[in-house]
């Protein structure tokens, strides 16, 4: 079992996995939310301008 890491050193890997997941999921969530709000606002504004 060469290279297998045990003990306290394992927590760094756990933190990296959770951190990366939170970061990437948060980024896609934020981008999707911002893009949706912007697009819907633009659509509403255009509809309002037309009366």
């Amino acid at each position: 079992m060469t290279g297998v890491i045990s003990g306290g050193g394992q927590w760094a890997y756990v933190a990296a996995a959770y951190g990366l997941t939170a970061l990437l999921t948060g980024a896609v969530l934020w981008h999707s939310w911002r893009a949706m709000v912007k697009a819907e606002r633009r659509s509403e504004t255009l509809r309002g301008n037309r009366g």
């Binding site: 959770y18 997941t21 999707s32 255009l46």
Partner: protein, 245 residues
Amino acid sequence: MHAYANPTRFLNIARPLTPWLLGLGLLLLAGGAWAGLTLVPGDYKQGETARILYVHVPAAWLGMGGWTSLAVAGLAQLVWRHPLAGVAARAIAVPGMLFTALCLATGSIWGKPTWGTWWEWDGRMTSMLVLLFLYAGFIALTNGDDAQRQGGSLSRGAAVYALVGAINIPIINRSVVWWNSLHQGPSITLRGSSIDTTLLWPLGLTLLGFSMLFGAIVLMRMRRIIADNRVTARLRRLADEEGSE
């Protein structure tokens, strides 16, 4: 199914549903992650690294589930020409690719302390990498075509690509059975789980939480595409009106 073909009717459901999915998803995820990191004990063999299970497994299921939904949307587009099928397929692609990438990354992070290597060209990891490339190909195929990007529709080629790509899903699923490798065999099947319930229950929370977040992201992206379509249609109508005056 065509009852929700009308974007306005779809939006009447999607608008209130989006914040609910988002809020509940985040709540379940926070609870599942907290339980997975603090409440449950480490695995007797793998130690603390087994806690990566609570993000790795939902990411794998959503990466595969995402492509399955994408293929169903492709079929709905090809067979029934459902107006929202193309919108849904385009909206699924990015979160599907995100979770596939997360599955590969968290699996690699799990592999290093457990197997002693970041990567192994075995059946499971290679077929999952193929899925990542399939998502990238689908996004390039749909974004590279102005008509598809502006109309939110799906070309015949993209729909067929989604269907053909679905062949990879059962390959991923059965890979650990067909080929012996470093990756463990299936631990959760229809017949039950080989993981003890003491360690298993937070997985239910994170799985449900990530699924709700996935749903919220898909709805947000569908709403954006529909809003963009409306803007394009209105601008075109305005240009036509001005041109005819």
